[in-house]
Amino acid sequence: MKILILQLARLGDIYLSRPAIQALKRANPQAQITLLTRPKFRAAASGLEAVHEIIELPTHDLFAPLVQDIMDVPAAHARLSEFIRELKTKNFDQIINLSFSPASSHLAHLLQPDGEKVRGYTRTPDGFLSIPDDMSAYFYAQVGPGKPNRYHLAEIFGTLCGVDLTEADWHAGKMENYVAPMKSPFIVCHIGASEEQKALSAEKWISTFGHFRSLNATPIVLIGSEAESAIADTIMSSSPTNSIVNLVGKTTLPQTMALLRQSVMLVGADSAPMHMASLTKTRCLNLSVGRVNFWETGPRAMGSWVLRANSEGDLPSDRVSRAMAAMVEKLRPELGIITVQEGAPSYSGLFPKEAEFHWKLTQAVYQGSDFPHPINDGFWQAHEQLVQINHFIMEQLQALQDGARLEEKAGFIDRGEEVIAAVAKLVPAWGPVIRWYQTEKIRIGPGNAQQVLNRTCEIQLLLQQVLDLYSEMKSIQAPGVESEAP
């Protein structure tokens, strides 16, 4: 069996894809797995023995006719057509798109126009986004900043590949023979991040290391990209030379992986080195700052901790340094630190009441668990609106079933959809249900009018079932008493 995996995203996503790819190979030992990546990130697949071949998307060659004084669009178009033609000659039995991007969805469709052998985003015959499998639909609706998902991205990739991850799938593969510049024990610290908002300032690192030095003498190795050299220089200029080694911009990705394996722990933001550490089973202290969901892209090595903060200002240096020292000395975490646990979801910790409600509602919609009791009156007000508007839409659909002309009803249905979308914005508690509903509408593929109408009616009825369930819940709730989450 020949399988093509599209992973056109960044370094971190490639590392997070590796357990799924390794699980896929474990489940299908005879499979010939090909991985398509961007050239810049190919090194993140280094040592990935489950892969038979790595193909680079030839972006430099494709874009060359476009980035010259006389732009040549037909030449770039022809180069891309040729690349796709060559890929097609490999006759893949299955395509798994782990990228969730518009470009990757078009590529998946061009390689497999009938779509039967594609998992992950692709396109319909008329060019619209096609979401063929339930996990991709879940991703579309519920994953990312501001969304309720609590499953780790690696697990999501695993499900997309049709496999359940086991502990054995989290490994680094073939490691480079790299000798660290100091004997263990040492701590690795990644001072940067893929996005500025996730990284800490040089000043924060200086004060953290200064405080840590008063608690523990374990030396620290700084890592990062060349672009982060200036931050490293600032840190080094304010730190004792015998306690910190600066390797920022001086290690390749495979060397960084080898360095992490030899270290006692990694400290840093949610970024590629942390995903490497999950593979080398190196404990992490994840400084999760800003708009990032640690439960989706945080550390997975057992014994790892997460320190969550909305901004750098909310993350006191002494708290970080105490956590570092406690990890090195294998002490218990302080109150408020989130810990990695086995299974999925992968983290233990307290979440705000609203976030808990959103997650329970998501589980109810997708996994059939009990629907949670609402935690505020706004939910009930929105419920009333939704009952009315869904009833209105169903009336329009019934009229269509009875022979009314689509042109007469389409406008009414569209207005109804707009109201439902507005409710989701105004009352986020309904977000999981409404995003599920909207995604299922998107998933209605091209077909004849009756097929589209029948599927639309089915989705509307499913929404009605959820609304009915809450109507029943409301009827047995004592009037005037605000409900509480169980």
Partner: protein, 60 residues
Amino acid sequence: MAQDLEKYLKDALKRLEKASQELLKTQGFNEETETLKLLTELVREQVPHEDSHSAIGKTR
């Protein structure tokens, strides 16, 4: 990414978007128009920074 390269790509994106629309009008959605659309999307993802698109992104 060098600023001049970014400028080239932004210009290319405008040209590609226009060419995609024109081809779609004349030919409808077929393999050729979709390949041009793919090229457009690849350039769009390349513009902000070469690594383009985190998995936690939006599409449609």
